[in-house]
């Protein structure tokens, strides 16, 4: 490792050069945009809980810690912990299974996992209720059972299933980043595959497993959609805070309740970050070339369990998506299925502008958020500016707080001159952009922490300016990172509901909101059509991006 601090002294930048100004301008644009579109709205929404009719008050916090809310916190922690542990466990099994497969099958599994991540909220939960509910296609029609899915078990089941795809993808990349010379050494020294798994692979991926666990915990903690649909009388904090907005119209009280969510989320997030750093340190070594074809046969029983659980997961996913597509083209009339194009006919031209808007919004958000995310990562991890790690933390806040509050924050913050944005198209794009910035940021972090800066140093020695290095070296090298983060943000934007539900107005309604409306009006068929359209568009965009990505690598 070359000493970086010395490197910095290599080229002397005259303080007022054009390059310096541009560099600082970019840096401050990044910082200001994050402060303005993430921190400011969040502070504004929290501040509503301190003011009642313009007067400062702590009323909303006075009885915040009463028994009722303590119980909600306990419930939230209970289901989030359980779902995250189960989710991580199943993800670990799926990723181990994938890790042991040949390259071809590995790619297929990765692509399938990516597709299963495109999961419009509400529709997925409903699809599973239709499959496993009291009159579920499988539980009732096939097995003759009448199960009651409402309660914490239902929440845990749905949250677990919902998180497995993302968690598996993260764990697969963790396993891939293990220095396989360690595995080879262990096998060469006579350890069995099983003991290599227990003594080498699992310990090496432990920080990765922990970070997946904590990330899931934060996501589950802020999830209100699943408990609303399947929670029954089991209530969690995120849902109650959400319902509070509607029932009492009391933004302040609801904001105060959601403040309760923040401490556990920040603690979990701290552990997530800590483990990520550990992971980066562990995997910084280069990999052995051609070491892939070692023999690694786990005992038969273990292999069976791994493939059975992976198979079961994909079977459930096929059922879920099958059910969504099926609902779009059929009517389930008193137990008998009738095929129809009625739903498609009802999805009239009025729906087209919303689909068009969804695509435009998702593309713009995907591009802007990837650029800012990469720049943020560049200044934080490459340039290592001291205060940037706080800015980076700010960028991850929208992930921690429930989406709906991030949306409300935008309304509270931007309904006045000179920042009057409510009702505009821009506010939806901005919200989508900044909500997902940490996705791009994390993807770019992986690049900056693993790739060393030799090329950039060389360019600098040859007299290239910082701006030039950024434009001609870093961005071209980061194209794959850019594409990955673009896909993630695009996918998230296409299906997001919670954060933008209050931001849309009649002139800028998007298709995920239309879908949400149809479902909440009980028109599941119409909702399924919209969900199918969203899934098809998102999958196509993903496949195009993957194509571009593999071309890039070849």
């Amino acid at each position: 490792m070359i000493n970086r601090s010395k490197l910095k002294e290599r080229v002397d930048f005259s303080a007022l050069s054009f390059d310096y100004v541009i560099d600082k301008l970019i840096l401050f644009t990044v910082i200001i945009s994050l402060l303005m579109f993430i921190l400011y709205p969040i502070i504004m929404v929290i501040s509503t809980s301190f003011y009642s009719k313009g007067v400062f008050t702590l009323d909303n916090y006075k009885d915040l810690l009463k028994n009722e809310n303590i119980k909600l916190i306990k419930n939230s922690l209970f289901v989030s912990t359980l779902s995250s542990i189960l989710g991580t466990f199943f993800a670990l099994i799926i990723s181990l299974f994938t890790f042991l497969q040949r390259e071809r099958l590995k790619k297929i599994i990765l692509k399938s996992l990516m597709i299963t991540m495109i999961s419009p909220p509400f529709v997925s939960a409903l699809a599973l209720i239709l499959l496993f509910g009291r009159r579920g296609l499988i539980t009732y029609n096939l097995l003759g059972l009448s199960v009651n899915p409402y309660g914490w078990k239902g929440i845990v089941l749905l949250q677990t299933l919902g998180q497995v795809s993302l968690a598996s993808m993260m764990l697969i990349s963790t396993l891939d980043s293990i220095d396989n010379r360690q595995i080879l050494a262990s096998r060469d020294l006579g350890a069995s595959p099983m003991s290599t798994l227990i003594n080498v692979i699992l310990p090496a991926s432990f920080p990765g497993i922990m970070s997946v666990l904590f990330l899931q915990f934060t996501i589950n903690l802020a999830d209100f959609g699943t408990p609303i649909i399947i929670g029954g009388r089991f209530k969690v904090l995120a849902t109650e805070a959400y319902m509070k907005i509607f029932s009492s119209g009391d933004l302040g009280k609801a904001a105060a309740m959601s403040v309760l969510l923040i401490p556990p989320a920040i603690i979990a997030f701290y552990f997530y970050r800590k483990n990520m750093t550990k992971l980066n340190n562990l995997s910084s070594g280069t990999k052995a070339v051609g070491g892939d074809n070692y023999d690694f046969n786990l005992p038969f029983g273990i292999r069976c369990i791994l493939s059975f659980i992976t198979g079961l997961f994909f079977l459930l996913m096929i059922l879920k998506y099958g059910n969504i597509f099926l609902s779009a083209i059929s009517i389930n009339s008193s137990g008998s299925l009738k095929f129809t194009l009625k739903h498609f006919k009802e999805v009239r031209f009025g729906y087209l502008p919303s689909i068009y808007r969804s695509i435009v919004f998702a593309i713009s958000s995907g591009i802007i958020s990837s650029i800012i995310g990469i720049l943020l990562s560049y200044y934080t991890h490459r340039r290592e500016l001291p205060f940037m790690k706080y800015i980076e933390f700010i960028s991850s806040l929208p992930y921690i707080i429930p989406g709906i509050f991030f949306g409300l924050g935008y309304i509270v913050a931007f309904n006045n001159e000179p920042l009057l944005l409510t009702g505009t198209t821009l506010i939806v794009i901005l919200n989508n952009t900044f909500r997902h910035i940490s996705v791009a940021n994390k993807a770019a972090n992986a690049y900056f922490t693993t790739m060393n800066s030799k090329i950039e140093d060389a360019a600098r020695d040859l007299g290239a300016s910082r701006t030039r290095i950024l434009m001609t070296i870093i961005f071209p090298l980061l194209k794959p990172t850019f594409l990955t983060s673009f896909i993630n943000t695009f996918t998230a934007c296409m299906t997001t509901v919670g954060a933008i539900i209050f931001l849309v107005s009649p002139r800028n309604v998007v298709s995920s909101i239309v879908m949400f409306k149809d479902i909440s009006n009980g028109q599941y068929g119409l909702g399924a059509v919209m969900a199918s359209i969203l899934i098809v568009i998102t999958v196509s965009v993903n496949l195009i991006a993957i194509k571009l990505l593999s071309k890039e690598r070849a």
Partner: protein, 357 residues
């Protein structure tokens, strides 16, 4: 350091500036109408608002089917968004009443009362409102009644048959222990209709009887739904046998594809008006008035009834065939103001009663 601060300021200003210009661009369409209005008055007088666009927040299932007829008649274009009234009220509060929407269409009257008290609604007494029972309207014209939404039950015939149960006929039947675990009702704190039911029964029966009833009904309920539409959906899907619902065209429609039937309670029927109002912040007040006038006129009411079968607010518009089973004499005598005034205290008592269901 000073240089940094200066740069910071420049960037803030640059951002503020772009923020403003973007806003003006997007505001343009709503400024345009005035131009269109001037150009048109010289030619066609019947459509003075040709080219104006009204933005409507809708909580009235099926209402969108009537918008084309309105546009054809007046030349005013409609952009609409479906949003529950509770959500709309939260949005209004967050943006301090500065909504870009012009009209609020249908939904829970308690939210309208709330919005009125917060000063978000524009008072307008339509000349057409005279043909409407004053019981449905706000006395100062902050909102007017479009239609009447009675409350009743939706039952899943298959499940009832399977359990060997009869459909409940009265509110009293609903509290019968034999229906334990099979009744679904939405939380009155969230659903305007269900609050209207609770408030209506209290007004009809008096405090003591009503609360005793709710106590017994609560034993039959597994958990309270988190939206007024959920009981309909869940009963349709066979997750529960009986749902307490607002009866509109949509309640009957679900029976076309599911084994469900609609039951009007035989003892008494709570109801709520589906209101319509203009937002105070509207930039198209005159066009909005045209909108209200048309929807309260006989023509507009008839077309709206075709869009979604409901009993319309005007007496000279006949009840739709679907609703012919409704005995209007069973509708309870109901004071909207009282319903709004008591909301907090009723909901508090309700919460104590049901605990965390």
């Amino acid at each position: 350091m000073k240089r940094l601060v200066a740069l910071l300021l420049i960037i803030i200003m640059a951002f503020t500036f772009t923020g403003c210009t973007k806003k003006e661009q997007s505001e343009q369409p709503s400024i345009n109408p005035e131009v269109g209005q001037d150009a048109d008055t010289t030619e066609v007088v019947e459509k003075p608002f040709e080219g104006t666009t009204l933005e409507v927040l809708v909580a009235y299932g099926g209402a969108e089917n009537s918008f084309d007829a309105f546009t054809e008649k007046t030349g005013i274009k409609i952009e609409w968004l479906s949003m529950s009234t509770g959500a709309a009220l939260a949005k209004l509060q967050a943006e301090d009443g500065k909504t870009t929407a012009d009209i609020w269409f249908g939904g829970g009257v308690d939210s309208y009362l709330n919005a009125r008290d917060l000063g978000y609604l524009e008072a307008y007494k339509s000349p057409e409102a005279e043909a409407i029972n004053p019981q449905y309207n706000d006395k100062d014209g902050n909102f007017s009644g479009l239609a009447l939404v009675p409350a009743g039950f939706i039952v899943n015939d298959d499940i009832l048959k399977e359990k060997g149960l009869e459909a409940p006929k009265t509110w009293e039947d609903l509290a019968d222990p034999k229906y334990k675990g099979e009744v679904m009702m939405a939380d009155p704190a969230i659903s305007g209709t269900n609050y209207a039911i609770v408030s209506g029964l209290i007004q009809a029966w008096g405090e003591e009887k009503a609360w005793d009833y709710f106590n017994r009904l609560d034993d039959n309920i597994e958990f309270y739904a988190k939206g007024g539409g959920e009981p309909l959906e869940k009963v349709g899907a066979g997750e529960f046998a009986i749902g307490v619902v607002a009866i509109t065209g949509g309640t009957f429609n679900i029976g076309e594809t599911n084994p469900t039937s609609v039951v009007y309670p035989e003892d008494l029927i709570p109801w709520t008006p589906a209101p319509i109002a203009i937002f105070k912040n509207t930039k198209n007040l005159d066009a909005a008035k045209v909108f209200i006038d048309w929807y309260l006129s006989q023509e507009g009411q008839t077309i709206l009834r075709e869009a979604d079968a409901r009993i319309m607010a005007r007496d000279d518009v006949e009840a739709p065939e679907l609703m012919s089973g409704l005995d209007k004499s069973k509708l309870i005598d109901f004071d909207l103001e009282l319903m709004g005034k008591d909301r907090d205290s009723i909901l508090e008592r309700w919460k104590d009663l049901v605990g965390d269901k």
